[in-house]
């Protein structure tokens, strides 16, 4: 067991990184959950070639959803590597 001050420091550093990751993903979430749909009318003027979707509609029907799914897999990896970096991850 390391002495308690260095454990405290490690905990704090771990939490700082975790919080930064949280805010980053929260930002992406907010952008694709809300901000981008505020521009639906201009985006609808763009039509996706071949498929024929207006872009604004597409983002709400599929685009943002795909971002959310990918983001969650990426987040699980990133948070795990932070946990590993500080030795706080569970054994495999």
């Amino acid at each position: 067991m390391p002495d308690s001050t260095s454990l405290k420091q490690k905990e704090e550093a771990h939490w700082r990184k975790t919080s930064r990751l949280m805010w980053t993903h929260l930002g992406i979430w907010f952008f694709f959950g809300f901000i981008i749909h505020m521009f639906v009318e201009p985006l609808n003027k763009i039509v996706i070639p071949i498929l024929g979707f207006p872009l604004g509609f597409y983002m709400a029907a599929q685009g943002s959803l795909i971002v959310f799914v990918v983001m969650l897999f990426v987040f699980a990896r990133q948070q795990d590597s932070i946990d590993r970096e500080f030795g706080f991850a569970e054994d495999d």
Binding site: E11, H14, W15, T18, S19, L21, M22, H25, L26, W29, F32, G33, F34, H37, M38, V40, E41, N44, V47, I48, L51, G52, F53, P54, G56, F57, Y58, A60, A61, Q62, S64, L65, I66, F68, V69, M71, L72, F73, F75, A76, Q79, D80, D83, G87, F88, A89, E90, D91
Partner: protein, 659 residues
Amino acid sequence: MATEASTSSSDFIKNLGKMYGTYTGGFIAFILLLALLEQVGVPNKILGYFFVFFTLAVYAIIGVMTRTAQVSEYYVAGRRVPAFYNGMATGADWMSAASFVGMAGTLFLLGYDGLAWVLGWTGGFVLVSILIGPYLRKFGAYTVPDFLSFRYGGNFARFLGVIVLVACSFTYVTAQIYGTGLIASRFLGMQFELAVFAGLVGILLCAMLGGMRAVTWTQIAQYVVLIIAYLAPIVILSTMKYGIPIPELTYGRAIAEITAREQQMLATGLATAASLKPHIQPFINYSPLNFFAIIMCMMVGTASLPHILMRYFTTPSVREARQSVAWSLLFIFLLYFSAPAYAAFSKLEVYTNIIGRDLTAIRPWLFNWGELGLIQICGKNAATIDAVVAACKAIAGHPGVVRLQDFVINTDVIVLSTPEIAGLPYVISGLVAAGGLAAALSTADGLLLAIANALSHDIYYKMIDPNAPTMRRLTVARALLVVVAVVAAATAATKPADILAMVGWAFSLAMAGNFPALVMGVWWKRTTATGAVCGIIAGFGLCLFYLVVSRYFPGAGVKYFGMTSLLNPVTGAPVVDLVKTMALPNAMESFPTLAHPLANKVGWFNLNNIACGLLGTPLGFAVIYIVSLLGKEPSKEMQDYVDEIRKPRGRTVLEEKTT
């Protein structure tokens, strides 16, 4: 805290892939067998019963086989469910009758604005993963109120947690049981009450003997059925129409055709500007404020609903809890990104093959639904051609072809009728019915378990008899499960008027009641017990107040609380004339007068009451913050516990007696 895994159960985990693979293959073979039976002339009704009873029997067998006498198996499936499978179970837990049957219909009616629900019911999982779920897993709770009690000083916080949980879960489970009745009665011609009873038996057989463990393994089986059932008709339809079996890619062209047809209908007088709502035009059903408010409430509500959060208590590790959220969303995504395709294909069919057609040349698929009162033309049920012709003749100056304003469709029909629109054999329709039932039953199982567990674990074991032996705890848990299920089914059988709207309310209530306290409990060590308790009461209270007043006491809302009429999203004009309606003799009447002229039409800031969480949650956060700062810092011990929750490594904070 996980009990030592016996050899037989670790074999069980290892063989999951093989088992569910075989199961899926068996289910497909079963569909093909029924298709064969249909070809040799077995009547539709028999096929339908086969579908329903075969699938119900499979769920029941799984439920009975996975029975358990261990507390940790009963409450959290022994914390051994792998991320991938827990994701599938969560998918089934999440997708309700409303998602399966109603979502596509909502998109059909509302067009772009309906996508608020698609976004709202998916994006919330991001919040589950980054803010709450994995931390509660590390904490080691059996229920959400467990965490509130530990973090916020005992049974008062626990009791509040139970109130919030029951408030948002009970109406929700009632709606699911109602959904089973609806699907079985519409599809199979069963009597509604009988169908509700059959659903109840199905739910109990799955959940009662094995608790979370049994519900988990049946939900996975139910996910397989529901996703095959949802995708099969639309994939076939897409292949027939566009030659590509990926409807999510091809419906873009359908949307372009719909948009062109809308212009044409306006130009030829088949639609009036008032009756036509262009499919891709945003903010004509919801104002931008309400559109984004619904998204926010559904998302944050997702991250606050106890029956969802508790699914992540079952994974073997915190790491797998995070992966599991990602898998959950992937499995949910498969259905939600297909729903708009249903809406587009159906709309194209209606706009090209019904609207503008001579009354005598209407496509026959529609009469089955007209007979049930789900499709109306010219104000009458479209049961036969004669009925339609007679109804339209009665309208002065009717041109003899169906106009858009003549046509009314119940939203449930969209998914259910797609196999017939595509001219597919009945076996596909039966499959869709089985899928809808699976969606309703799996969600009902999860909700029922959430309620019964809160009552048995939080109220009975933690508050009434902390020394109760294991056997008695499990007996009480099962007895309460039966009681809650029967009460919910009895409520559903009365066909309560507001039941479907109440599902939406559940999200706002969960959001206002749980979200601030859960998030602050993990992310801000300084949060005090008093702060959290005040925050829950204030946030949940405000949300509930707004809902109840605007729905049931709108007269009082206007007179005493300064509520004003909601505004029409297109014209910006009030939807009701307050001065005139307030002068009516029944203006101050309240519950149970459901047909009040102001009900759901008044509020503050033009905010729909379904989004009341948007009022309650910020208040909850603010109250927790201020009251916490006013009080003394939480003990060093508590702050250390919070540190423990933040680190995946190590033992769970809460250690339950498991034997």
